[in-house]
């Protein structure tokens, strides 16, 4: 596992995201309310650039007409078919049993611990959450 500098903290304030490729893998890194998340930028459904979608909250309901809307900014909606994925875990909300996109753990390193330069190196620990589910359409 190698650590790749992706941005300075100042360059990725809350509500922003950054796209990059690491080892041929398209990834996006998000700052949601001061927390950092990384996602593979490929929807497991039909391969769309998932991370270009809007970040919304999670709409749930225990009774028709009543909506509990929580986790604002933590659900990404694929820009194609609108499938919802939890950016913390990659869990999808349309068909929880079958689809999951890959989430990558993101950490912020204190500046002095890494290589100095135009970018402060930041750790990007790649952890595979679950087997990449290939959609068999």
């Amino acid at each position: 596992m190698t650590r790749h500098v992706v941005a300075t903290v100042n360059e990725l304030p809350p509500g922003t995201r950054k796209f990059l490729t690491i080892d041929d893998r398209p990834i996006a890194v998000f700052n949601v309310n001061g927390e950092y998340f990384g996602l593979l930028n490929r929807c497991p459904h039909q391969g769309a650039a998932l991370c270009e979608g809007p970040l919304i909250g999670l709409a749930q309901s225990s009774d028709p007409g009543e909506i509990e809307y929580t986790r604002l900014g933590e659900i990404i909606r694929c820009p194609w078919h609108g499938w919802e994925f939890d950016i913390r875990t990659g869990q999808s909300y349309c068909d929880p049993k079958r689809f999951r996109t890959r989430a990558y753990a993101v950490n912020v390193e204190p500046g002095t611990a890494v290589v100095k330069g135009p970018y402060v190196a930041e750790t990007l620990k790649v952890s595979v959450e679950s087997d990449y589910v290939v959609v068999d359409l």
Binding site: S61, S62, E66, I67, H81, E84
Partner: protein
């Protein structure tokens, strides 16, 4: 020809009201005089012109009077012919077309009373569906509660084409009452004609209206599912009557595909539509919109992914099959038993109670 098994349930029979005046004994003085003084004739829906070939199989058409208006005919041609233990009456009389709420209530109550006196009382096998004055939700609930006291009413009857999509919350008190009383809701082909009978306007022909029934069932099923009727009323069953069913699998594929992408619009739909259909929706057997080759129908059954969805029906006296060929060719005797006995008894709680009582006595 696939033979029926004795002791089944015919889930769709149509006893006919001979004429509006047949209801006079069941109306109060005011309405009796309204009918006669104002020269009201009959309440017959264009959905079933009495002389249309669909409305009566040629050998079931009586010499005089409306098809299905004589008990003896129904007994011989449907109940005895298929050896059923129970037959559920779904009266099709044009009460849903009426615009006045009060008139609708009067005629509907009279219709339900007529069914009891002239049919249910005269043959132990017969059961009834409560026709409701859909023009008033409140009065519909009252009528359900009134008729449900008679245990021979086993279902609530609504038409597939009315004023609003059936999933709309306006109608939910009806569903609450039915669920509370353990009664399925039967949704039957037919229109109140308060809206054009297709989703693209008024067609020109009776055949066009009739073919369009299947599409109406599709949009209504969407409405019921996405409005969350079964989220609010998980124990409620709805039976699609005379709807056809061969459209179901591709319909569900489409609904499922869109539900995944637009889930957030209706977040109370927290199960796949196919699961909801499996748990809460059933279909009467007739009409079978498929070619006669068993291979095709067997593939369709495979697409449906459940053998619990179909409930035996003749749709008497409507013309859906010839001779005794009510059941599809080439199905196993296990499936025949499921369709004729197990599935209907599992769906209609009051039949099951009666069947248990009979077995015990």
């Amino acid at each position: 020809m696939t033979a029926p098994v004795a002791g089944g349930v015919d889930c769709d029979l149509h006893p006919a009201v001979p004429h509006l005046t047949s209801l006079l004994p069941y109306l109060d003085d005011y309405w009796r005089d309204q009918v006669t003084t104002r020269g009201m004739t009959d309440l017959v829906s264009q959905s079933y012109p009495p002389n249309s070939p669909i409305s009566a199989r040629p050998d079931w058409r009586p010499a005089r009077g409306k098809p299905g208006s004589r008990l003896e005919d129904m007994q011989a041609q449907a109940l005895d012919a298929f050896g059923v233990r129970f037959g559920i009456c779904n009266p099709l009389f044009g009460v849903q077309m009426v615009f006045s709420e009060d008139m609708a209530v009067a005629f509907t109550c009279a219709l339900n009373d007529w069914l009891v006196k002239e049919w249910l009382d005269k043959d132990d096998r017969l059961r009834g569906s409560i026709v409701i004055p859909i023009q008033s939700v409140e009065k519909s609930v009252a009528e359900i509660e009134r008729c449900a006291r008679d245990k021979r009413f086993v279902q609530v009857l609504m038409l597939v084409m009315g004023d609003l999509p059936l999933g709309k919350r306006t109608y939910w008190p009806i569903y609450a009452a039915a669920e509370r009383l353990g009664l399925p809701i039967g949704i039957h082909a037919g229109s109140s004609y308060h809206n054009p009978p297709t989703s693209v306007g008024w067609g020109s022909y009776h055949i066009e209206d009739y073919v369009a029934q299947a599409q109406a069932f599709q949009t209504q099923l969407t409405s019921l599912i996405v409005e969350g009727v079964f989220a609010r009323h998980p124990k409620l069953t709805m039976v699609m009557l005379e709807s056809g069913f061969t459209w179901l699998p591709p319909y569900l594929w489409r609904l499922h595909k869109f539900w995944r992408g637009i889930r957030m619009e209706t977040p109370w739909v927290d199960r796949a539509p196919l699961e909801i259909v499996r748990s809460n929706i059933r279909f009467s057997l007739q009409p079978i919109d498929a070619p006669p080759e068993p291979e095709v129908l067997n593939r369709l059954f495979d697409h449906m992914q459940s053998d619990e969805l179909l409930l035996f029906s003749t749709d008497y006296p409507h013309w859906q099959f010839d001779r005794d060929a009510a059941l599809p060719e080439g199905i196993s005797s296990d499936l025949v038993k499921k369709i004729m006995i197990d599935n209907p008894l599992a769906t209609y709680g009051r039949l099951k109670e009666a069947a248990i009582k009979e077995t015990m006595s």
